[in-house]
Symmetry: C2
Subunit: 147 residues, 2 copies
Amino acid sequence: MQNVQDKLLIFEDFLKKRQLRRSRQRTIIMEEFFKNDHHISVEQLLLRSRKRDARIGFATVYRTLKLLVASGLAHERDFNTGRKLYENAELGENHDHLVCLKCGAVKEFRSHDINAAQSSIAKSHDFKIVSYRHELYGFCKSCKKIN
Amino acid sequence: MQNVQDKLLIFEDFLKKRQLRRSRQRTIIMEEFFKNDHHISVEQLLLRSRKRDARIGFATVYRTLKLLVASGLAHERDFNTGRKLYENAELGENHDHLVCLKCGAVKEFRSHDINAAQSSIAKSHDFKIVSYRHELYGFCKSCKKIN
DNA sequence: TTTCTTGCAAAAGCTTTGCACACCG
DNA sequence: CGGTGTGCAAAGCTTTTGCAAGAAA
């Protein structure tokens, strides 16, 4: 698990390699992004960033998130809610999600069995896996009781 | 595996139960939809339907697809291509997809191991699964050679 | 007739882009 | 300075909706 400082260094390195600049806005946006543990929407990130600089615009947040995704520090997620969410990536490790249809809660999980099955499927189809998406939709512990 | 006739009957039954009408447009659109084996976009379905009635509009196709999804005869899929695809559902059976990042080909597969792992995960999180989404992104047999 | 459906166009939402100005190095 | 980055507003896309006219029951 990397801390925020490590991530900032990685991002700066990424920018340098691409001859991109480290601007005040990019720094604010990435710091606010990395403060967040899990998933954040563009709008939420904009609102947080605007607390530190009210003039930051939507476009800059979108553009910065693109860079964070390209650098591997963020993952783009879409849980069929109409808007994308961005996730603080931990060393590019793939993981799966449980998504509650009632309260919207998202929980991560990892499963060796699933990863093993994926590899075997890929092998039998002569398919090279680059990434995957695995989401279980249903009702979480608390919402199950009510529903 | 149901044939087209069965599906039309199921759809008509669905409409009747909801006191909805069987219009000329709905009939055309659903017939064209069921002619298709796998995934089709709204635009493709509109174009096919317009061959039989040039006046059919986008809105009607969207509205009819909503009904097909509600009736359980179609599934809505989103492979991160910016537009949704609709899939001819076979008895509501859940299945998984291999999506080629180069040529866009989509291949279905089923895996008992994956389904078993999903159940066990759900149990341990006290989560009730309603549906799931599982897509492996990468390169198919032919595109793997070139890439 | 009465109610549902359609087609058109406009509206919605989210995301991207063009452009003039500002800023980094 | 030269080239990037930013903010704003406008444009792009897909999907949804309002409404008057048309069709089904």
